[in-house]
Amino acid sequence: MATVANKLPGWKDLPIGGLIEKPGTSEAYKTGDWRSDRPIWDAEKCIDCKICWMYCPDSSIKLSAEGKVDGIDYMHCKGCGICAEECPKKVNAITMHPESEFHGEK
């Protein structure tokens, strides 16, 4: 515990007043390991309607440089399954699978 605490900045090195001085720093925090079910995105089936993008609570639907749906950000996806649930039934481009099937692979 002491060694962990020592790696963190001391009080003299923190910004004033508890400020976080940069925007969006939570991106560096991994929430993907919360996941018990993994969404698998099928590029072939995807019609790029972006409904999954709108409904993903964890900003984990990746978009390509051209702005097209481009898979899942597994570093942050918590596996809630809203994307699979909301993907139009006729399209069915995202399906949920237990993490145990992947044996820890990324």
Partner: protein
Amino acid sequence: MAITKDRIALTGNEAIALAMKQINPDVCAAYPITPATEIMQIFASYVADGAVDTELVAVESEHSAMSATIGACAAGARSMTATSSQGLALMWEMLYIAAGLRLPIVMPMVNRALSAPINIHCDHSDSMGARDSGWIQINSENSQEAYDNLIQAMRISEHPDVLLPSMVTFDGFIISHCMEPVETYSNEAIQEFIGAYKAPYALLDIDNPITVGAIDFHDFYFEHRRALAEPMLNTVIPVVEEIGREFGKKFGRTYELFETYKLDDAEVAIVVLGSTAGTAKVVIDELRAKGVKAGMLKIRLYRPFPYAQVAEVLKNVKAVAVLDRSDGLAGFGGPVFGEIRSALYDLPKRPITTNYVYGLGGRDVTLAHIASVYNDLLAIVSEGAPQNLVNYLGVRE
């Protein structure tokens, strides 16, 4: 360069409202409470007449007054509000947050008793309740000091080595509503003294988005609170001294951490805050005329408390009576008593101390009351110990 001064008759509230006008803050929140109401009332008329640039936010409670002031200050604006008593009590939660966020808010605070029973008159229980909130507390004896202290508080709070909120206190009705001559200075001289506002950070800097008021777990909270303690431990006192001297050079009245009155050779002394100091000075003069070596210490800076400096000026006194205009309800007298005892503890030869809780709810403090305290002190000196450690002065048994 000579400073233009006007000597005019003002009540404490009028003097403070005038100082606020001359400070010309960007934002002020206002909510009425006796006996501080007039401050924002007068200030509102300045706003209505276009005499200031201030955006006045007439809020629906003191909690919102401090919340809006915090929002405005965090946005990057010089921000003020004023209050008293129950109003300060309702702000309680936000006082800590203003300090924790390191916002240099300056607030006139008119001392009034706390309920129950409800009472609109002076005692210090309101500001004493907030003494450990992270606010700098500067006490004023009279309207002149309130006016001068408010101007200095801007510099103190906004000093880059400080960045803490300040409350400038003065006694309700006794000072807030009492008209006396006050030397005022020109707007230009005050503006020159306080300087342009430089915000410690600004939400309105949209190109550099910051998050203010984040949550800390056990891994950072302690470090943030330690950082908050630093100015109170080390920087506020020298800054207050430096600005007091600079103020003296510019305006002719030098301010220190406290005022001593005939204390150098005093054998018996009292410690007071606020308007009672004026009464005490008269008693001391009378006692001195009779050959009694009486003196006084009037605390100006109460937070942070100048422990070492207080010990230094009281070290040769034989007996000290601490006058508390609020009761600590701690079973050990008032809060100032605790401070003074603590300050004196490390002296090789400590003065004998005793405590008088007095003047609660605006109870009048007469010359006779103060004289009786000195009489007690003389008895303590000859007997070697006080009869009672904690005394109630001026209450009916």
